[in-house]
């Protein structure tokens, strides 16, 4: 009996470690490749022991445009996230606190914009932004990204607000607070970690987005994912630079994900449990 339990535990840990390796390996491979001297990128058999070099990173930063596109990505993600949080917080609160006919349907309905495949609305969006002369500006992407970041924020914030006991707000309201006052002074501080997790998830979605960015921007408002693909030229695919710029794009995402892991999962899944 005891032996069997030890074997079981051993198998469990073995499987978990296998899953961890599989999850992390491609990312590690990208990071390692980014520090490889360019001539070793394609070495077969693969070379794992080499003198790390910053050559690829220097190549990426040469010319100065990378920094600019980095700032573009950052600005777009931050502005979109702030706007989405503002609207998403109130809507999420509304869904968590008020029961009316068709709450469930409306909640699921708030996911409809998320269901529209970007490719299906991008032609008319292009025409629309073009007539406002917004093509290749940060605004075009900020507006487009709201179509998915607001629904996402609503979904996450609903589940976080649903966890805050109603009574806390009610007692504040008896003490003379308006509902809005109770929301801001009582509930908001409690859901702060959830708010942060929502912000991080929305930021990551904007930061990672590719299709809108590649079509709605040109030289000026380009974002990082598009910049990475620009290293695939007609002549050659510059893998060293792709690895270096790819690593630079991933690092903030991974740091955020590690930081907010617990709340991210809870926010996404609580909706799944409580509805």
């Amino acid at each position: 009996m005891k032996l069997r339990r030890t074997i079981n535990a051993g198998l469990t840990y073995f499987a978990v470690i296998l899953a961890l390796l599989l999850s992390f390996f491609p990312i590690a491979y990208l990071l390692i490749t980014s520090f490889k001297p360019p001539e070793l990128t394609f070495a077969i058999p693969p070379v794992w022991a080499f003198n790390p070099t910053l050559q690829n990173y220097a190549d990426v930063f040469a010319g100065g445009t990378f920094t600019r596109y980095f700032l573009n990505s950052l600005t777009i993600a931050l502005v979109t996230t702030s706007v989405a949080l503002l609207f998403g917080t109130f809507a999420g609160y509304g869904f968590a606190r008020f029961q009316f006919r068709g709450t469930t349907w409306m909640r699921l309905g708030s996911l409809v914009p998320q269901m529209l495949p970007p490719i299906t609305i991008i032609v008319p969006l292009y025409v629309l932004f073009n007539s406002f002369r917004l093509i290749d500006t940060l605004w075009a992407l900020i507006v487009s990204y709201l179509t998915f970041s607001i629904p996402l924020s609503i979904w996450m914030m609903t589940s976080f607000f649903a966890d805050v006991p109603r009574e806390l707000e009610e007692s504040a309201m008896i003490d003379g607070c308006t509902r809005l006052g109770a929301l801001i002074r009582v509930s908001l501080p409690i859901v702060a970690p959830g708010l942060a997790a929502t912000a991080i998830l929305s930021f990551i979605y904007c930061w990672n987005e590719f299709l809108y960015a590649v079509i709605l921007t040109g030289r000026d408002a380009r974002t990082l994912p598009v910049t990475i693909t620009s290293y695939m030229t007609n002549k050659a695919i510059l893998w060293g630079r792709i690895a270096a710029s790819g690593s630079l794009v991933l690092v903030p995402v991974l740091a955020f994900a590690l930081l907010a892991q617990r709340y991210l999962v809870r926010g996404l899944s609580r909706g799944a449990i409580k509805g």
């Binding site: 999850s23 996911l111 709201l146 299709l211 994912p225 899944s269």
Partner: protein, 310 residues
């Protein structure tokens, strides 16, 4: 009748105030929920309307300066008769169904594993979470390098094991499995973490009762865990359906829909008509069909979710 009249007179007695308060009480949810819906509606109403208009017109790069003639349902008719479009639908559904099936089987396994009381739980979950957070462009390119025929690590290690190298991305028969593999790597963790959260929220009592009755762990899983997890499973399924159905960037960077359209999903198909041959009427009709299919599937799932909740 009395109380109705009483009600009216009360309103008249304090003009506005009571009516206003009553109105406010009913409208309060709308004040919180409304603005978000309004913003989204403002952004989407024009694109959706214009797209619908386009889908009934002939708009080509060569002809649009001479006018955009109304063609009625012609775009839709020729789409449904087009083997290429039907192919892209078939490809999309093959991808959606296989990827989601594999992800749920692996995801459920992983969730059950992580449900054990493991050492370093937080760290394990964080690392498992990483693939789903990665930038799709980076994922696509990294895997393109890993799957490269000559220089890719995967072929290298396969050949070390005595297995022939595979032309992952340029042979029609294996290109789709390769794309599915990358998506499975990318999102199994998402499914696993959602299911794990579901598992952790289940009550203990039914499990204890069944165990006392002598149920095996397999029976526990089939007859208790799965039914109780139904809601979580359906919501995870909804999220995955939305994401797989629209898949674009990973496929675009891995294979760009090739070889020989073996991985040309509907999104890639529309991209080709909209942004390479600029046949916008046709692309819009395809878009509307895609939206329609998505909404029907989502509504079916949503109805199932709603039923459980009531």
């Amino acid at each position: 009748m009395d109380w109705i009249e009483g009600g009216t007179s009360a309103v008249q007695a304090v003009p506005g105030a009571v009516a206003w308060r009553r109105f406010f009480k009913r409208a309060e949810p709308a004040l919180y929920i409304g603005p978000a819906f309004l913003v989204i509606a403002i952004i989407l109403v024009y694109p959706l309307g214009y797209s619908l208009w386009l889908s009934f017109h002939e708009w080509t790069l060569r002809g649009f300066r001479q006018g955009v003639p109304w063609v009625g349902l012609e775009n839709y008719r020729s789409l449904l008769a087009s083997p290429e479009f039907l192919n892209s639908l078939r490809i999309t559904f093959t991808f959606v169904i296989s990827a989601i099936t594999i992800e749920f089987i692996l995801g459920m396994g992983l969730a059950l594993l992580l449900h054990h009381d493991l050492r370093g739980k937080g760290l394990i979950r964080s690392i498992i979470l990483l693939p789903m957070m990665c930038t799709n462009v980076v994922i696509g390119l990294t895997w393109r390098l890993l799957l490269n025929y000559e220089f890719g690590l995967i072929n290298y290690y396969l050949s070390q094991l005595g297995i022939d190298r595979v032309e992952w991305l340029s042979k029609p028969a294996v290109a789709m499995p390769a794309v599915i593999l990358v998506d499975v790597w990318n999102t199994t963790s998402f499914v696993a973490l959602l299911l794990l959260a579901g598992l952790q929220s289940l009550p203990d009592e039914p499990f204890e009762a069944a165990r006392i009755d002598g149920a095996s762990s397999w029976q526990l899983f089939i007859y208790i865990t799965l039914p109780l997890l139904r809601q979580t499973i359906l919501i995870a399924l909804l999220w995955r359906l939305i994401d797989t159905f629209r898949i674009f960037d990973v496929v675009y960077l891995l294979t760009a829909g090739g070889p020989a359209r073996a991985t040309e999903t509907v999104s890639i198909y529309i991209y080709r008509y909209g942004f390479q041959s600029f046949n916008l009427g046709f692309a819009s009709a395809a878009s509307y069909l895609m939206i329609l299919i998505m909404l029907v599937l989502a509504a079916l799932l949503a109805r199932a979710i709603g039923r459980i909740q009531e």
